[in-house]
C-alpha cells in the first residue's frame, strides 16, 4: 500500500503543474496572437490551408495543394510560421476551420475539395479583404477575391484513354475509381472511356466506382486492389486507378501481377504517381494528371502581387511522362497523343463530358 503513495503524489503534482502551466499559457498566447495580427496587417503575408476530410500528407489532392502552399512560401520567402493547415475532421466543420484562419488575419486561405465550395463562397463574401483559393470548386458567379482552381480532368482522362486503348492487346481495359459522388472522378472516367473508344470503337471498358460512402471511397486500398484483381481476371490488361488511396491500392496490385510492365499496365491519377507511389513503378506507364501544386503556387503568388484573378482559374491537365516505359511507347502513339492534346486544347476534340 505504502508503495503506491509516491506515484499518487507524482501524478497529482504533474497534474497541478500541467494545469498551472496550461492556464497562464492560454492567456499570453491569445495576447500575442492579437499583437501579431495587429502588426501583420500590412507587413506579413500569411497563407492557410483547410483540407477536405483527410490528411495534408495523403499522397493525394490535399497533399498536392499543401505542397503548392509550401512551394509558394519558399518562392515568396515566407517564414515557416506564416503557413499553416487545419485537417478537417468532419464535413460540418468546413466553415469553422476557414474562420479560424480569418480570425488570425491570414491573407490567403486555400480550401481543398469541391465539398468546401459553399463554405468558401460564404467566407469570401463576408471577408472581401481575404483572398480565397478553392481547389476543385467551380465558380458560377465571379467574386473578385475567390478563385476556383479547376481542371479539365476529362482531357487528361481522354489522353489516358487513348494511351490505354492503344496499348491494350486483349481489347478490354478497366478503371478502378473513387466515388461518382465527386465530379472530378466522373470527369476522369468519362474522358477515359471516350479516349479509348476514339482509338478502338469496339473496346470493352469495364469501370467501377467504389460502392461505399464518400468518407470511405478514397481511403479503401483493399477494395481498390481486389477490384483491380477482378478486372485482371476478366481480361483487362490496362487499368486506370483513379481515386486517391483506393486507386493506389489498385496500382500496387497490378504492379505485382503476372506480366506487370510487359503485358499488363496501369495508369495513375492526379500527380505523376511514378514519384508518389514507387511501388507501382513496375506497371505504371503514365498518370492522368491535374496539376494542383503549380496551380496553387500561381494563385498564391498572384495574390501576393495584388493581381488576384477572381472566378474560375484553369490549371493544367496533362499526361505524365512515361519514365522507364518511354522506349516501349511507339513514336506514332506519342505523336497521336500530342495531336490529341492539341485537339483537346483547341476544341476540335470533344470528350463528351458535361454535354
Amino acid at each position: 500500500m505504502k508503495r503506491i503513495r509516491p506515484l499518487k503524489i507524482l501524478v497529482l503534482l504533474a497534474a497541478l503543474a500541467l494545469l498551472l502551466a496550461a492556464c497562464p499559457a492560454a492567456v499570453p498566447a491569445a495576447d500575442t496572437g492579437a499583437a501579431d495580427s495587429a502588426a501583420s496587417a500590412g507587413a506579413e503575408f500569411k497563407v492557410g490551408l483547410v483540407t477536405d476530410v483527410g490528411r495534408v500528407n495523403d499522397r493525394s489532392f490535399n497533399q498536392s495543394a499543401w505542397e503548392g502552399v509550401v512551394a509558394a512560401a519558399d518562392m515568396l520567402g515566407l517564414a515557416d510560421d506564416d503557413i499553416k493547415y487545419i485537417e478537417t475532421q468532419d464535413a460540418k466543420d468546413y466553415a469553422d476551420n476557414i474562420q479560424q484562419f480569418i480570425d488570425a488575419d491570414y491573407n490567403v486561405i486555400v480550401s481543398v475539395g469541391f465539398a468546401l465550395g459553399d463554405a468558401t463562397i460564404v467566407a469570401a463574401q463576408d471577408n472581401p479583404d481575404v483572398f480565397f483559393i478553392g481547389v476543385d470548386q467551380f465558380q458560377g458567379e465571379v467574386l473578385p477575391n475567390l478563385a476556383g482552381l479547376i481542371f479539365n480532368e476529362d482531357h487528361s482522362g481522354y489522353l489516358a484513354g487513348v494511351l490505354a486503348g492503344s496499348l491494350s492487346q486483349t481489347g478490354t481495359i478497366a478503371a478502378v475509381l473513387g466515388t461518382d459522388l465527386v465530379p472530378p472522378v466522373v470527369a476522369f472516367n468519362e474522358g477515359y472511356v471516350a479516349g479509348a473508344q476514339s482509338v478502338n470503337p469496339d473496346i470493352n471498358v469495364i469501370s467501377t466506382y467504389h460502392p461505399g460512402e464518400i468518407s470511405q471511397a478514397f481511403v479503401d486500398p483493399e477494395w481498390g486492389a481486389a477490384t483491380a484483381k477482378q478486372a485482371l481476371d476478366q481480361g483487362a490488361d490496362v487499368i486506370f486507378g483513379a481515386g486517391g488511396i483506393t486507386g493506389n491500392g489498385a496500382l500496387q496490385e497490378i504492379a505485382t501481377a503476372d506480366g506487370a510492365g510487359e503485358t499488363v499496365f496501369c495508369i495513375g491519377v492526379d500527380t505523376d504517381q511514378w514519384n508518389t507511389v514507387p511501388a507501382a513503378q513496375p506497371c505504371l506507364v503514365s498518370s492522368a494528371m491535374k496539376l494542383i501544386t503549380p496551380g496553387v503556387v500561381d494563385l498564391v503568388s498572384l495574390a501576393s502581387e495584388g493581381n488576384f484573378p477572381g472566378g474560375n482559374y484553369f490549371g493544367d491537365a496533362d499526361l505524365a511522362p512515361f519514365h522507364d516505359f518511354d522506349d516501349m511507347i511507339p513514336q506514332e502513339l506519342k505523336d497521336l497523343l500530342e495531336a490529341t492534346k492539341a485537339g483537346l486544347i483547341d476544341g476540335s476534340i470533344d470528350t463528351g463530358y458535361g454535354n
Binding site: 481511403v219 481486389a226 478486372a231 500496387q252
Partner: protein, 355 residues
C-alpha cells in the same frame, strides 16, 4: 457430452453442415461447368460464377473469417469481443511498422517477421482486453469500444505517411492441385495468409470441439462455476483465449497490409471488424458457420462489383451496392433464426471468497 468417436463426429458434422456443404459443392460444380464450357460467354453466368467473382469472394472472406474466429475464441470462453476492428487495425499497423523497418532484409524474412509482429500486437491487444475485463472488471463491451477508439487514434497519430513498405506476399501455386479447372486457380493459387486462414478454420473447429482444451474453454464460457468446481482455472482460460483471439485478429490485419494491399492506411479495416462480428453471430459461434457467413458476405460483395463492372445501370448503383447488407439481414432473419451465445458471456467470474 458424449465422448466423440470419429464416426459420430462425421455424422454430427454432416448433420450440422450437410445442407451448407451440399450447396457449396453444387455451386462449385456450376462454376466449373460455366468456366470450362462456352457458357461463360453468357454475361449473367459469368457475373455469378466467373473466376474473377470467386477470387474476389475468397479475398474478401479471409479477413472476415479471421476476425470471426478471433471473436469465437474470446466469446466461447465467456469474454465478449466487439473490439475485433481495433485489434485488426493495431495488428495491421504493427505489421506495417515492422515491414518498413526491415525493408533491407530479404523479402521473405521481412514479411514473415512482420506477420509475427502483427500477430503479437494483436495478441497484446487481446491480452489488454482480458486484463481490462478480468482484472479491472471493466464492462466487456466498454473495453472493446476502448480498444477500437484507442487503436484508431494511436495508429493514425503514429502513422508516418512517408514510410513505404516494399513488397508483399505473392501467390504460391500448390503443385498439381492448382491445375484443377476453376477450383485450382481459385483455391490453390493463393498467397500464404489465405491458406493459413482456411487452415485456421479447421484448427479452431477441431480444437474447440475435439480437444480437452476446447471442452474446458466451452465449459468456462457456459458454466464457469461448474468448471471452477472441477478444478479449471477459469480466468486463466479467459486470458489465454482472449489473447489467442487477438492474435487471429492481428493476422487479419497482417493480411490487409502484407498480403492484400502492401501499404497501411488509417482506418484501413474499414468496418471489417464489425462485419466479422456479424459473421460470428450469424455463424452461431461456430468456426464453419462463421466461414459460411463470411463467404456469403464476400460473395455478395463480389457480385455487387461484378454487376457494376458488367455495366448494369438500369438499377441505381446504390441499390446494387446494398446487396451484401440486405442479403445478410434477410439471411439472419430468415435462415438462422435465433442464435445462442455462450451462457456466461460478459460476466466477471469471481472465485468463491475472492471478495
Amino acid at each position: 457430452m458424449n465422448q466423440p468417436t470419429p464416426a459420430s463426429a462425421l455424422k454430427r458434422f454432416g448433420g450440422r453442415y450437410g445442407n451448407t456443404m451440399f450447396i457449396a459443392l453444387a455451386l462449385i460444380g456450376i462454376a466449373i461447368l460455366v468456366n470450362v464450357t462456352p457458357l461463360k460467354e453468357q454475361t449473367w453466368l459469368r457475373v455469378l460464377f466467373g473466376i474473377s467473382a470467386l477470387n474476389f469472394t475468397l479475398r474478401a472472406t479471409v479477413p472476415l473469417v479471421l476476425g470471426a474466429l478471433s471473436g469465437i475464441l474470446c466469446e466461447r470462453s465467456g469474454i465478449i469481443n466487439i473490439g475485433i476492428e481495433g485489434m485488426m487495425l493495431a495488428g495491421a499497423f504493427g505489421g506495417f511498422v515492422a515491414k518498413t523497418s526491415t525493408n533491407h532484409w530479404p523479402l521473405a524474412a521481412s514479411l514473415i517477421f512482420s506477420v509475427a509482429v502483427a500477430v503479437a500486437i494483436g495478441g497484446l491487444m487481446g491480452a489488454v482486453h482480458a486484463l481490462f475485463s478480468i482484472r479491472f472488471r471493466m464492462d466487456q463491451i466498454i473495453s472493446g469500444t476502448v480498444i477500437i477508439i484507442f487503436a484508431l487514434g494511436t495508429t493514425s497519430y503514429l502513422y508516418n505517411r512517408d514510410a513505404i513498405a516494399e513488397g508483399k506476399f505473392s501467390s504460391i501455386a500448390l503443385p498439381g492441385l492448382a491445375r484443377i479447372p476453376v477450383v485450382g486457380p481459385v483455391l490453390f493459387d493463393n498467397p500464404p495468409i489465405t491458406y493459413l486462414a482456411l487452415i485456421m478454420v479447421v484448427v479452431v473447429h477441431v480444437a474447440l470441439f475435439y480437444t480437452r482444451w476446447g471442452l474446458r474453454t466451452r465449459a468456462v464460457g457456459e458454466h464457469p462455476r461448474a468448471a471452477d468446481t472441477v478444478g479449471i482455472n477459469v480466468n486463466r482460460y479467459r486470458y489465454v483465449n482472449t489473447s489467442l483471439g487477438g492474435m487471429l485478429a492481428g493476422l487479419a490485419g497482417a493480411f490487409l497490409v502484407l498480403e492484400a494491399v502492401g501499404q497501411f492506411q488509417e482506418g484501413m479495416t474499414a468496418g471489417r471488424g464489425f462485419i466479422s462480428l456479424a459473421a460470428m453471430i450469424f455463424g452461431n459461434w461456430n468456426p464453419f458457420g462463421a466461414l459460411g457467413a463470411a463467404t456469403l458476405f464476400g460473395y455478395t460483395q463480389a457480385l455487387q462489383n461484378e454487376l457494376l463492372l458488367a455495366g448494369v445501370t438500369r438499377v441505381p448503383r446504390q441499390f446494387i451496392s446494398m446487396l451484401p447488407y440486405v442479403v445478410t439481414i434477410i439471411a439472419v432473419s430468415g435462415l438462422v433464426g435465433r442464435v445462442r451465445p455462450p451462457a456466461a458471456e460478459g460476466k466477471v467470474y469471481e472465485t468463491e471468497g475472492s471478495q
